[in-house]
């Protein structure tokens, strides 16, 4: 399983992708940096930055993780790894873990950029650590959705964009139940519970989702288990090529 995870990690995380996707994920940091010294206060800038990150980071992770197995299927290399004595449960776990690990690398890059942007504005370093939880939990949650989606659907990138843009950003603001399914909001709820100070305007980002580390982690855990079960089923029941 470790070999398979390493294989995914090596194949997905090319230098070009690393630079491009970290740059995309760092748009929020640029928002923070550009707002320094402006007329808007921290309470107004932060929700905008978090929402921006919610879109750009989600898209970056989507681009990266949806290809974990989809690239192998479309490229014709899946038989090399599929035809190995690895139980499908382990194969599914390694695939999601590989996707999550690469997404975390992008998340850490985006977080570092955000920290640098915040420090330039005089924010205390201790306040920035909570942001890491935001990117890490989101990376894991998104990978649990996008890796199985990539294996199952030929137009997975399109479906993924539908989830990020339509479901999370539009429908999620209007429908209470859908907001609870938003990986980004779940990640923000964990962040909001950990962060020493959270601007009140962040409530707009969270919507009906209440801050809480335990609840957030349970939700991410459920998403992980469901993603793993779906992928295991797909690997067993669906054609691999």
């Amino acid at each position: 399983m470790i070999t398979l995870l390493g294989h995914f990690f090596r194949r997905m995380l090319t230098r070009g992708r690393l630079i491009g996707l970290i740059a995309l994920s760092s748009l929020a940091a640029i928002v923070v940096w550009l707002s320094q010294g402006g007329e808007f206060g921290r309470g107004e800038v932060y929700p905008t930055a978090v929402t921006t990150a919610g879109v750009t980071f989600a898209i970056a992770v989507l681009i990266l993780t949806v290809g974990t197995l989809r690239d192998e299927r479309d490229g014709g290399t899946l038989p090399y790894i599929y035809m190995r004595p690895i139980p499908r449960t382990g194969f599914a776990a390694a695939s999601i873990a590989g996707g999550a690990a690469t997404a975390i690398v992008i998340g850490v890059g985006a977080w570092i950029a955000t920290v640098l942007g915040s420090l330039a504005g005089g924010v205390d370093l201790s306040e920035t650590f909570a942001g890491l939880s935001l990117f890490v939990t989101a990376a894991i949650g998104y990978a649990a959705i996008f890796v199985p989606l990539g294996y199952l659907a030929p137009r997975s990138l399109l479906f993924g964009l539908g989830y990020v843009v339509v479901l999370e950003q539009i429908v999620g603001f209007m429908v209470n139940g859908v907001a609870q399914l938003s990986i980004w909001r779940i990640a923000v709820s964990i962040y909001a519970d950990i962060a020493p100070t959270v601007p009140s305007a962040m409530e707009d980002v969270l919507g009906p989702v209440t801050p809480g580390v335990t609840d957030g982690l349970i939700k991410i855990g459920i998403v992980l288990v469901v993603g793993w079960l779906v992928l295991t089923w797909a690997l067993k029941e669906r054609d691999a090529v």
Binding site: H7, R11, G76, T77, P79, Y80, P85, R88, D239, A240
Partner: protein, 305 residues
């Protein structure tokens, strides 16, 4: 001979397209050639045996187990896929080592060096696969399949892109594996290629089995088939009347400025034609088989079953 791969009443369809239709056959040790024109269903059958696709109907066992259910089968079965795709940025050595590790074999590093030597890629082993020629890629794929020392080896068009020397080497290797008691199933659309390495041939067309037997049996079936030959000459009418009286000729048709000769025995016609031309003072300028494609041969075989 113990059957290692058993296919029972297997069909596979994709929507309305039937790729494999009600195939029942088994394979044992030695080299078996899976022969058929493009689109005959060879690759789909290979993928079904490999467990990459699930049969729509029927059952497949490899070494007594269903590969879709028991992944342990993959300790003893390997596939060389037809697709050219590989991990372009990885070196051949790293690629094969990874496959060896995923195959959970002992001494993956040592075994990798062994198979690199067998396929003659030791010197190029550290180059990225993306820089390899088609023939070198084929050899790297074969090496990745051999590294786990499989009992069942599935080779989908393994000689594609290999030059004549590499072909000879690979054919020798496959024959050695077959002689050592491994089950080697090689798909190809080139009869001459299969003839050089396989003891037994399974011919497929339109997803169905067309013929099963020794290479000699398939050859005989193909020779018995009526054939059509186009003959271009200086006086088609005169030659046509002479051909009508010739043994092995079933019919002669005048088409524009050439003849289409239907023959029950093409070889006899070929033997008689020069003599007839000389006797009748006709100059033959061109002689072409009208339906010599492998596909037409296989269709004949299917029709005769």
């Amino acid at each position: 001979m113990t059957d290692t791969v058993v296919i029972t009443e297997v069909s596979k369809w994709f929507g309305f397209k039937v790729a494999v239709s009600d195939v029942t056959i088994s394979f044992g040790s030695g080299v078996t050639g899976l022969l058929g024109p493009n689109g005959a269903g060879k690759t789909t059958l290979m993928r079904l045996v490999a467990g990459l696709q699930k049969p729509s109907q029927g059952k497949i066992t490899v070494l007594g187990q269903d590969p879709r259910e028991h992944v342990d089968v993959y300790r003893k079965m390997s596939l060389v896929p037809e697709d050219e795709a590989m991990y372009e940025r990885e070196s051949a050595r790293r690629f094969i080592q990874t496959m060896a590790r995923l195959g959970k074999i002992d001494d993956p590093v040592g075994k990798t060096e062994d198979v690199l030597r067998i396929v003659g890629l030791t010197d190029a082993a550290d180059r990225p696969l993306g820089t390899f020629s088609k023939g070198m890629r084929q050899r790297a794929k074969v090496a990745s399949a051999l590294v786990t020392e499989p009992e069942v080896l599935l080779l989908d068009e393994p000689l594609n892109g290999a030059d004549p020397v590499q072909r000879a080497e690979l054919i020798r290797l496959f024959k050695e594996l077959g002689a050592a008691g491994r089950t080697v199933i090689v798909s190809s659309h080139v009869l001459a290629e299969v003839e050089r390495m396989a003891d037994r041939v399974v011919a497929m067309v339109d997803g169905r089995l067309a013929a099963v037997g020794s290479v000699a049996t398939i050859r005989a079936a193909m020779t018995d088939r009526p054939r059509q030959i186009y003959v271009e000459c200086s006086d088609p009418r005169r030659l046509a009347s002479a051909l009508f009286r010739t043994e092995g000729v079933v019919g002669v048709h005048l088409e524009a400025d050439r003849l289409r000769v239907e023959a029950s025995d093409a070889r006899a016609v070929a033997d008689h034609l020069p003599r007839l031309a000389v006797e009748n003072g006709v100059r033959v300028t061109d002689l072409q088989p009208a339906d010599e494609s492998l596909e037409s041969v296989f269709r004949y075989l299917v029709g005769s079953r």
